[in-house]
Each structure stands twice: as structure tokens, then as C-alpha cells.
């Protein structure tokens, strides 16, 4: 078999479109997912409450079911109930909820490692629980669990390949689309695999870059 990458050239537009969709989808659901995780971890690390138990249910259901089923449930299930949402929005929602659940648990570990003295100092200075969470607990907790969080976000990016199954035009959808036109499966998937690999490596670099700046206080460096 001879490799012929020139057959991909006419489809460069589709590849770019798929790439952009995957990157944008990952970026916004990472931000939304981490925001969600911060809220869930706050409620779950406080006193037992009805809301806390409900969020616990959400975390467990999400962590113990396949992502593709969650995606189908949101897209097909909700529309059957009369909530019409676009494929792209369903993908965003599924990725956000998925990352939210996993990273809430990771973040909770970081919060529980908070020194009691930090909380007492915050209290003695008059901060409410929410103020102390926001200003005292959250950033060091993120710093502690940052490597695990980075991996989780990359997993969500790679997992986003399945959103092609509900016809979101992401990178995987582009690959399937091109392959069904030019029948050059090997070339197409080789290129797309490399793009995913570069995306994952790039994400790790980007997270490292952001982390070194955001958490500079840990090294005692001049930041």
C-alpha cells in the first residue's frame, strides 16, 4: 500500500473546521466544568445537606456511566422529553457535566488537605465560610491537585471524539467525513491521530504554563 497524503488536500477546510470545533468545545467546557466543580466541591465539603446529597448523586451517576450514554441521554433523551437542544450544545453540556463530576472529586481531595489553621485564621479575621472558601481555600486547593486536574481535562478533550456520534462537526467527525469521500482511511486517521496527540501535548504545556504563573507562590519565587 502506498501512502498518498495529497488526497487530503481538498479536505483541508473540513480538517480545520473539525480542529477548531474540538478546541473551542474543549476550552469552554473545561472552563465551565471547573467552575461547576468549584461549586459542587464547596457544597459537598460543607455540612451534610439535601443539596449536597443531590450533588453527590450527580457525581456518582456521572462517574459510573459511559460518557457516550450521558451524551445520548442529553441529546436524544432530553429532546424526547420536549427539550430541544442543538447537538453542539448537548456536546458542551455533556462534557461540562462530565468534567464537573470528576474534577469536583479531585478538588474535594485538595480542599480536605487544607490546613485547619488556614480556616481558623480566616474565621478569626471575620470571614464567612463562603468568603474563606473563595479567598483562602480554593486557590491552594487547585494548586495541590493541579497535575491530576490537568490529566482529567485532557481526558475530556480526547473523550470529546464521541460527540461526532451526534453529528457535531469535530475533528473525529471531519475524519469520518473525509474517509467516506476519499476512502483513504489510513492517511486520514493517521493525520487525525497526530493532531489529537499534538492537542494533548499542547494542552499539557498550556496547563503547565498557566500553572507556573498562577501558582508561583508555591516556589517562593519572585512572582
Amino acid at each position: 500500500m502506498e501512502l498518498d497524503f495529497s488526497t487530503l488536500v481538498p479536505y483541508a477546510g473540513e480538517l480545520v473546521q473539525g480542529f477548531v470545533t474540538t478546541v473551542v468545545l474543549t476550552a469552554i467546557s473545561t472552563l465551565a466544568g471547573l467552575g461547576l466543580a468549584s461549586l459542587v466541591a464547596y457544597v459537598r465539603s460543607g455540612k451534610a445537606s439535601l443539596l449536597g446529597r443531590m450533588l453527590g448523586g450527580y457525581v456518582e451517576v456521572t462517574r459510573n456511566t459511559p460518557f457516550i450514554v450521558q451524551l445520548f441521554f442529553l441529546f436524544f433523551g432530553l429532546s424526547a422529553l420536549g427539550f430541544k437542544i442543538s447537538a453542539l450544545f448537548a456536546a458542551f453540556l455533556a462534557m461540562t457535566l462530565n468534567l464537573g463530576a470528576y474534577s469536583a472529586e479531585i478538588l474535594r481531595a485538595g480542599i480536605e488537605a487544607t490546613d485547619r489553621g488556614q480556616l481558623e485564621a480566616a474565621r478569626a479575621l471575620g470571614m464567612s465560610r463562603l468568603q474563606s472558601y473563595r479567598h483562602v481555600v480554593l486557590i491552594p486547593a487547585f494548586a495541590r491537585i493541579y497535575p491530576a486536574l490537568t490529566s482529567q481535562c485532557i481526558i475530556v478533550m480526547l473523550g470529546s471524539a464521541v460527540v461526532s456520534q451526534i453529528s457535531v462537526f469535530d475533528l473525529t467527525y471531519a475524519a469520518n467525513f473525509i474517509q467516506s469521500r476519499n476512502f483513504r482511511g489510513f492517511e486520514v486517521y493517521l493525520v487525525v491521530t497526530l493532531i489529537y496527540l499534538l492537542l494533548a501535548v499542547g494542552m499539557r504545556q498550556a496547563f503547565g504554563f498557566v500553572g507556573r504563573r498562577a501558582f508561583a507562590f508555591r516556589q517562593g519565587g519572585n512572582a
Binding site: A121, A124, G126, M127, S128
Partner: protein
């Protein structure tokens, strides 16, 4: 009227009764050193004064504020009382300046410019103005503790509680922290300190309170108390620490 007035204070942890009825009045401007063996209840007593531990029985009055052991908002509690801890507890992700300014801004909603002015004042007072933009990890233990004192002062407390504030420090760093406290005492700040620094208690405090088994066992002015202890327990304690 005394600034701090404690009546019949009781506190138990489970079956263990740690405070068995404490009565203590502290006048404004007074420096009170609480000494005693570990387990005598002195830290618990101090922590009741700003309700980090809620007491079971008895009353505490600080200025015009009554604490009855029921839940109060931290904002209310921090109105009159500041606290400095053994382990500094600076916020590691905030610079020195941010550590000092955080509570005035988010708890008291004071404006930024005024808060920064106050922060610079209190940091100057503890001799660390030039560390305004440094992170806690870049400071020595003694410097961190001085920032912690400045942070408490920025809330303009009527009473400053100090819980073994030099116990976590290397011996050569103890002096710089004690000198700051001494200067505060001279300025008329009301201080209640749990301390193992007997010399400091002797030199700086107006009154020494010896706690033993959850009660105030003996108290008096430092000269008399250290030279001429009335009770056998205090005599033994002094002999063991001096």
C-alpha cells in the same frame, strides 16, 4: 468597666472537661500572660474568647459584645478581637500586602486606598514594609509571624489574642516577634497571651495567670508571682520551666 469580662466559663470536649469555671476580667491596655502546663486548658480558654471553640456554659463579654456560646457570624466576632496563631497561618497564595488587606476589604468592605494605607502603616509598625509584595514562602518564620500580627492589627481589634506565637520559631527568631508585642503593649494594646516565654511574661505583662487543670489556680503581678508563688503547683511549674 473591664474590657473583657469572663464569668464561670465551662467547656468540655466529649467527656473531658477542659475548662471548669474560669472567671477573669481584663482592663483595657492590660497585658495578661496565661501560663501553665500543656493540657491545663489555656489555649482552649483563649480560643473561647473569639469562639473558635464555643463554650458550654458561662458568659464572655468583650467591650459591648456578649458571647453566650451560641453561633455568631465570624464578621460580628471579629469586630473586637484579633488573633495570632502558633503556626502563623498566613495565606500562602497572597502576598504580604494582600494578606493584610484581605479581611478589611472583603469583611468590612472598606475601600482599597484606605485599606492599603492602613496595611502599610501596620506593616511598618512590625518592621516589614519592604516585604509588601513578597509571598509568605519567601519570609523567615519570625517575619511571617510579624506579618500575621500586622494582619490582625489591620482589623483594628480592641483585644489581641496570642496563642503561643513564638513556639514554632527557631530560638534566634523569637526576639523579633517579642519585640513587636512589647511595642504594642507600650502603645496600650490589650494583649492576652498564652506563652511559654517566662521571661517575656515577667518583663512585659501586667498580670500573669497560672492555669492548672481547667481552672485559674493562681494569678498576680509577675514580680510577686514568679518570686513568691503561693501554691505548690505553681512552684513546681516555675521550677520546671526556669
Amino acid at each position: 468597666m473591664a474590657l473583657v469580662s469572663v464569668n464561670d466559663l465551662h467547656k468540655s470536649f466529649g467527656d473531658l472537661e477542659v475548662l471548669k469555671g474560669i472567671d477573669l476580667d481584663v482592663e483595657a491596655g492590660e497585658v495578661v500572660a496565661i501560663i501553665g502546663r500543656s493540657g491545663s486548658g489555656k489555649s482552649t480558654f483563649l480560643r473561647c474568647l473569639n469562639q473558635l471553640e464555643r463554650h458550654d456554659k458561662g458568659t464572655i463579654r468583650i467591650a459591648d459584645q456578649y458571647l453566650d456560646g451560641k453561633a455568631m457570624s465570624p464578621g460580628e466576632l471579629s469586630k473586637n478581637v484579633g488573633m495570632v496563631f502558633q503556626s502563623f497561618n498566613l495565606f500562602p497564595h497572597k502576598t504580604v500586602g494582600e494578606n493584610v488587606m484581605l479581611a478589611p476589604v472583603i469583611v468590612r468592605q472598606e475601600d482599597k486606598a484606605k485599606t492599603e494605607r492602613v496595611a502599610r502603616e501596620v506593616l511598618d509598625k512590625v518592621g516589614l514594609l519592604e516585604k509588601f509584595d513578597a509571598y509568605p514562602a519567601q519570609l523567615s518564620g519570625g517575619q511571617q509571624q510579624r506579618v500575621a500580627i500586622a494582619r490582625a492589627l489591620a482589623m483594628n481589634p480592641k483585644v489581641l489574642l496570642c496563642d503561643e506565637v513564638t513556639s514554632a520559631l527557631d530560638p534566634e527568631l523569637v526576639g523579633e516577634v517579642l519585640r513587636v508585642l512589647e511595642a504594642l503593649a507600650r502603645e496600650g494594646m490589650t494583649l492576652i497571651l498564652v506563652t511559654h516565654e517566662m521571661k517575656f511574661a515577667q518583663d512585659v505583662s501586667n498580670r500573669v495567670v497560672f492555669m492548672h487543670q481547667g481552672r485559674i489556680h493562681e494569678q498576680g503581678d509577675p514580680q510577686t508571682l514568679f518570686k513568691d508563688p503561693k501554691t505548690a503547683e505553681l512552684r513546681q511549674f516555675i521550677a520546671s520551666v526556669l
